[in-house]
């Protein structure tokens, strides 16, 4: 009997076997890799902690230590005290870093990044935490809390500014009073000058009259003496008023100096802390802005500054 055999089917069993083995090997490698990626083959242990609110915690979220992923959140449950018990699963190999004093907190990776649980490295002199032992949870500030804090910091600055403006505007305050005294002084000075002018005019008139009558001096010494007496009596009448005005002007000057000293003592100590606060606030704001500018997609929207920019040089001008 003639046996016809298709050459393509020669060693078919061997070929099928070979491809099956290769396929299974690839499948095994893939499973191995996926398992490794998901820590399926890593030995783990569990730690727990309790928080007031479960907001921000999700099952499967990453647990990081010094920026490296060391485990995941395994479970969240509400306890009898209406608080939230959280269990995290950590790779056994990292157990040596997590000690009795290690803390745990919920943080965000960047301003708009995802939330992670961050475990702090503990003191090496203390024992490492064992399976099912408790970690201490440290509450972190949320963005709205930070904003509140910033607003609280700004509030005293603003109230100081308001205080200073109020101080400057107060009609009974040092500044307004000083201005009033200045005005009074200016008015008094005017009056004093007017009196002095009048006195000088009168004295001048008297001197003129006296010189005009030099010839008759010898004839009427009595008259001259009489006139001189009159001049002296006028002078005597005017001088006290002049002296009083001058004295009141000096008193006003003294008052102004006193007011200015008080103003200086009240205001000057307030200025350096005010400046310091403003500077700190500005620096903080600048830092936040820089951080926000560096975040994608905001960073991609910010245009790089141009160096070769010219004032438009119109050919017609």
């Amino acid at each position: 009997m003639i046996k016809v055999e298709d050459p393509r089917f020669r060693n078919l069993k061997k070929k099928v076997g070979f491809f099956s083995v290769v396929g299974l090997a690839v499948l095994a490698v893939v499973i191995l890799l996926i398992g490794k990626e998901n820590d399926l083959f890593t030995k783990k242990y569990e730690l727990q902690f309790t928080v007031d609110k479960g907001t921000g915690f999700t099952r499967g979220m990453q647990v990081k230590l010094s920026g490296f992923r060391i485990g995941r959140l395994k479970s969240i449950s509400l306890n009898e005290e209406a608080k939230v018990d959280i269990v995290i699963q950590i790779d056994q190999k990292y157990q040596k870093w997590i000690r009795k004093d290690s803390t745990v907190k919920l943080v965000k990776e960047g301003l708009v990044g995802e939330s992670i649980i961050e475990v702090a490295v503990g003191d090496r002199s203390l024992d490492a935490l064992k399976d099912r032992e408790r970690l201490t949870y440290v509450k972190t500030k949320a963005l709205d809390e930070l904003a509140d804090e910033l607003a609280n910091k700004l509030q005293p600055v603003l109230s100081d500014v308001r205080g200073i403006i109020g101080y400057l505007n107060d009609p009974n305050g040092d500044i307004k009073q000083s201005m009033k005294h200045f005005n009074l002084l200016a008015r008094n000075m005017d009056r004093t000058r007017e009196k002095a002018d009048a006195l000088l005019l009168q004295a001048g008139g008297q001197v003129g009259a006296m010189s005009g009558k030099v010839g008759s001096v010898l004839d009427g010494t009595g008259d001259t003496l009489l006139k001189a007496n009159r001049s002296i009596s006028i002078l005597e009448q005017k001088l006290p008023g002049l002296l009083t005005s001058a004295e009141s002007s000096l008193n006003n000057m003294e008052k102004i100096t006193g007011d200015l000293k008080v103003a200086e003592q009240t205001m000057l100590p307030k200025v350096p802390p005010l400046l310091q606060k403003s500077e700190e606030t500005l620096q903080g704001t600048t830092n936040v802005l820089h951080a926000v500018q560096g975040i994608w997609p905001i960073s991609s929207q910010i245009q790089a500054p141009q160096e070769k920019q010219f004032v438009p040089g119109d050919s017609h001008e």
């Binding site: 160096e307 920019q309 010219f310 017609h316």
Partner: protein
């Protein structure tokens, strides 16, 4: 949409988002250089507002900062901007000093050469040295590597026209017009049209001159450039006057006068009033001529008071 397609779309969205994260970050620029650029930007802004003192102060700060890090290109930019502002302010000596200093810093084959040569040409034109101005304008044209060729050519054309070479000027202005249209430099396109209109007017071709002035006027109105609108209106007045239409010419000059006066340019308004008075005299309208003359004196007085 089936589940596979949905997953594909999700994967695509995720990939594009991650692509954004992985994108190259902007190379950080040294602080002094950033500050210098900011001062330069503020200077340009101040100049556009007409605050030349502030602009010069900002350019001086930019120059100091660029010098502190020995950034030659930045120094040249600050010096050219200073020179341009000084020239527009009327301080030609200061502008000359800035340009010469910038020229001493200019490396061979620098991309800034064209702008610097152009500014030097404008400076020489302001000083009345037309032949030297033309020489530098041609150099600016030769050094231009970007889209400013139309602007450079406009200056060459304007200088040629002033030197009486209207045929060459026309050729240059026509090329400039094409280049400016291509580069979408609308203000320069209007400048090209105005030069062409002037050329046509000198060659006695009133219709074409009028057409070019009208086109320039439309573009300048679009951009809201008051002084150029007044120039276009005066040009149209000149075209009408040359064609014997004194009434029409007077109307154009009246419009130019109003634009200049309301724009605060009393010198140009006074020039328009003078031309208006001449036209009224030609029409035999003595009272209106007298009125225009008084208006001119008033404008000159107001200008001097300023």
């Amino acid at each position: 949409m089936n589940r596979g397609a949905g997953a594909g779309v999700l994967l695509l969205v995720a990939a594009s988002l991650l692509g954004g994260c992985a994108g190259a970050r902007v190379q950080p620029v040294p602080r002094a250089r950033l500050q210098a650029m900011e001062h330069n930007r503020r200077g340009i802004e101040a100049q556009s507002r007409g605050d030349q003192e502030k602009a010069l102060a900002e350019f001086a700060k930019a120059l100091r900062l660029q010098s502190s890090i020995d950034n030659t290109d930045g120094m040249i930019v600050a010096l050219v901007n200073s020179a341009r502002t000084q020239r527009l302010k009327g301080d030609l000596q200061g502008a000359r000093d800035s340009v010469e200093r910038a020229a001493s810093l200019l490396p061979e084959g620098s991309g800034l050469a064209s702008e610097l040569h152009y500014e030097k040409a404008k400076l020489l034109l302001a000083a009345g040295d037309l032949s030297a101005a033309r020489e530098w304008a041609v150099k600016a044209e030769a050094a231009e590597k970007g889209d400013q060729m139309g602007r450079r050519r406009n200056l060459v054309a304007a200088l040629l026209l002033r030197q009486g070479a209207s045929a060459e000027a026309k050729e240059q202005a026509e090329q400039a017009l094409e280049l400016n249209r291509k580069a979408k430099l609308t203000a320069e396109e209007a400048n090209s049209l105005r030069i062409l209109a002037e050329i046509h007017l000198t060659q006695g071709s009133g219709d074409r001159a009028g057409e070019n002035y009208r086109q320039a006027l439309a573009l300048d109105k679009e951009l809201g450039l008051g002084s150029k609108i007044a120039t276009d209106l005066c040009g149209l007045g000149a075209v009408a006057a040359k064609g014997g239409d004194t009434a029409g010419a007077a109307a154009w000059y009246r419009r130019a006068l109003e634009v200049s006066r309301n724009g605060g340019d009393n010198a140009s308004a006074a020039a328009a009033a003078e031309r208006l008075a001449q036209l009224y005299r030609l029409q035999g309208d003595a009272p209106r001529a007298q009125q225009a003359e008084e208006e001119r004196k008033k404008l000159l007085g107001a200008g001097a008071a300023k």
